[in-house]
């Protein structure tokens, strides 16, 4: 269980995963924030109001997958680094794109090969960096996109440069 190990189990993950039909349409956010903590920057970060909290700041973020455009604006604003963007509609067969916050040094460069890690920090596979966004407005939280095997998209959640 997440609360004993820090690792989200696949059962716990299910409610925050978008449906297959939504995944096929292109990039979408997955918000792995499963506890009612007093935090809400993700809500105001979303330009299309896809993230809502029902009764206030201590609610869990609720993402409307249909409204979400997968733009990634919420990713670097989340202090929990809990938001990922998956893009299954990638032009390389068998591959998909995964974007995440990255706050370590060195920040990888585009096309660099990095280790893709799972939720326990275990090596999954090598992955190529497809994009790095690190503007001053992100205040030193880079958003790194890697190309990963499509069938491992829900397992990979970190990188080692």
């Amino acid at each position: 269980m997440l609360k004993n190990t820090g690792i989200i189990t696949s059962e716990e993950l299910k409610p925050v995963l978008p449906a297959q039909t939504r995944l096929e349409k292109g990039p979408v956010a997955i918000i792995e924030c499963l506890q009612d903590i007093p935090c809400d920057p993700c809500v105001s970060a979303c330009p299309v109001k896809a993230i809502q909290m029902q009764s206030g700041i201590t609610d869990r973020p609720q993402l409307d997958f249909e409204t979400c455009t997968g733009c990634g604006a919420c990713v670097p604003k989340c202090p929990g680094l809990a938001i990922f963007i998956v893009n299954m509609k990638h032009n390389v067969p068998g591959k998909a794109l995964l974007s995440m916050s990255y706050e370590l040094l060195p920040v990888p460069a585009k096309d660099q090969e990095v280790d893709a890690l799972d939720r326990a920090g275990k090596f999954v596979c090598k992955a190529k960096v497809a994009r790095v966004i690190n503007p001053p407005a992100y205040d030193r939280t880079a958003v790194v996109t890697i190309e990963v095997p499509a069938d491992r998209i829900n397992d990979i959640r970190a990188i080692k440069v």
Binding site: Q35, P38, D40, V43, T58, G80, L117, A120
Partner: protein, 365 residues
């Protein structure tokens, strides 16, 4: 020498800065002292983005919040005097206090004091816990984030509250290997998003474990852990040895309260708030009517709540001198509403309970 002020704020963390800003903006002559070289309290070591409410600086790094508060302090400088490297060392009768800077001792006479001294770190008893290389998490953060010094190469963290989780993450950012995080409870104490963050960078989390002893002769060379049962008793034959050169203790904070005791404020022990705290009402006024409190000194909580408590104390202290003010009332109302939402939900349950107890006790005396 002696100084004269209307409002005397002790401590320049988020609580004290907010109190001083509000009091001086409302129009009170205010003096703020802080015993460190740089204003900001805990914030100057918080390089991570804060959780909390986005209309109160969440998503922004602690160090940036400190800069924003310091700017407001500067803007209020016609009414607000700030003394750094200056400690409040005692309260006397007749609304007087003593302050000590590097080269002078002075007396301050005030009409209302707001004490925002923050907290001290707890320690833990285990064999060899006096070996060099065993630090409190706050000490590690100061070394690393204020002075740029790595505390060790391989660190074992004890305590899975937010401080243990966040300092582990900052250690990883500094390039230090975190060999594990130990927690006596079966579940992680801090926010799970922070736990997942370090877990996916490969830090093992040992829940239901404790540290039995530190190994080494002249410095830390390792630690022996073991499993504990539901009553926190070590389970025989579950010992495991971990190699490390540094052990970091993040096992809670206790409000820093010496000054309240000197000012003869009535104290109450509330476990949920971190130990002994001065009894205070919803105006943050203690049982000594000239002394207000805010921030971790009133009960261990967070920077966001410390700032809001500071704003309430600043506004009410102003009113205690200048009489009722609609502007002060509006500040208090707004802060109260924000506090209510921040403390709602299950993660705020203990704090709510502790706060309610303080209010009940103060009503009873």
């Amino acid at each position: 020498m002696s100084r004269n002020t209307e409002i005397f704020v002790i401590g320049g963390g988020p609580a004290g800065l907010s109190a001083a800003i509000v009091a001086s903006q409302l129009g009170a002559r205010t003096l703020l002292v802080d015993d460190s070289a740089r204003l900001g309290g805990q914030l100057i070591k918080q390089t991570h983005r804060f959780f909390g409410s986005s209309n109160r600086d969440a998503g922004i790094r602690g160090i940036t919040i400190a800069e924003m508060l310091c700017k407001e302090v500067k803007d209020a400088s016609d009414r607000l005097t700030v003394l750094e490297n200056t400690a409040a060392v005692g309260f006397y009768a007749n609304k007087e206090a003593g302050i000590l800077s590097q080269d002078a001792y002075e007396r301050v006479s005030y009409q209302a004091a707001i004490v925002c001294t923050g907290a001290t770190e707890n320690s833990l008893t285990f064999e060899n816990n006096d070996l060099p290389g065993i630090y409190g998490a706050g000490g590690v953060q100061t070394l690393m984030n204020v002075h740029g010094i790595k505390p060790g190469r391989r660190i074992l963290m004890v305590g899975s509250g937010n401080i243990g989780l966040i300092v582990s993450y900052q250690l990883l950012q500094a390039g230090v290997e975190v060999v594990g995080l130990v927690e006596g409870m079966p579940t992680i104490g801090g926010y799970l998003v922070h736990a997942s963050k370090i877990r996916r960078l490969g830090v093992p989390i040992y829940t239901s474990h404790t540290i039995l002893k530190a190994l080494g002769e002249t410095g830390v060379e390792g630690a022996v852990l073991c499993r504990v049962d539901e009553r926190f008793q070590p389970v025989p034959n579950t010992e495991l040895t971990i190699e490390c050169d540094c052990i970091c203790l993040a096992v809670g904070l206790t409000p820093l309260i010496d000054l309240f005791q000197q000012a003869q404020c009535r104290m109450v022990h509330v476990g949920e708030l971190g130990g002994l705290v001065p009894l205070h009402d919803s105006a943050m006024r203690t049982t000594n009517p000239d002394v207000f409190v805010a921030g971790d000194a009133s009960g261990i909580e967070e920077a966001t709540t410390a700032m809001l408590g500071g704003r309430i104390a600043g506004a009410r202290a102003y009113e205690s001198i200048h009489g009722k003010s609609p502007k002060a009332e509006a500040i208090v109302e707004e802060a109260r509403e924000e506090l209510r939402t921040l403390r709602s939900g299950s993660t705020g349950e203990r704090i709510r309970w502790g706060r309610e107890r303080v209010l009940k006790e103060v009503g009873a005396c």
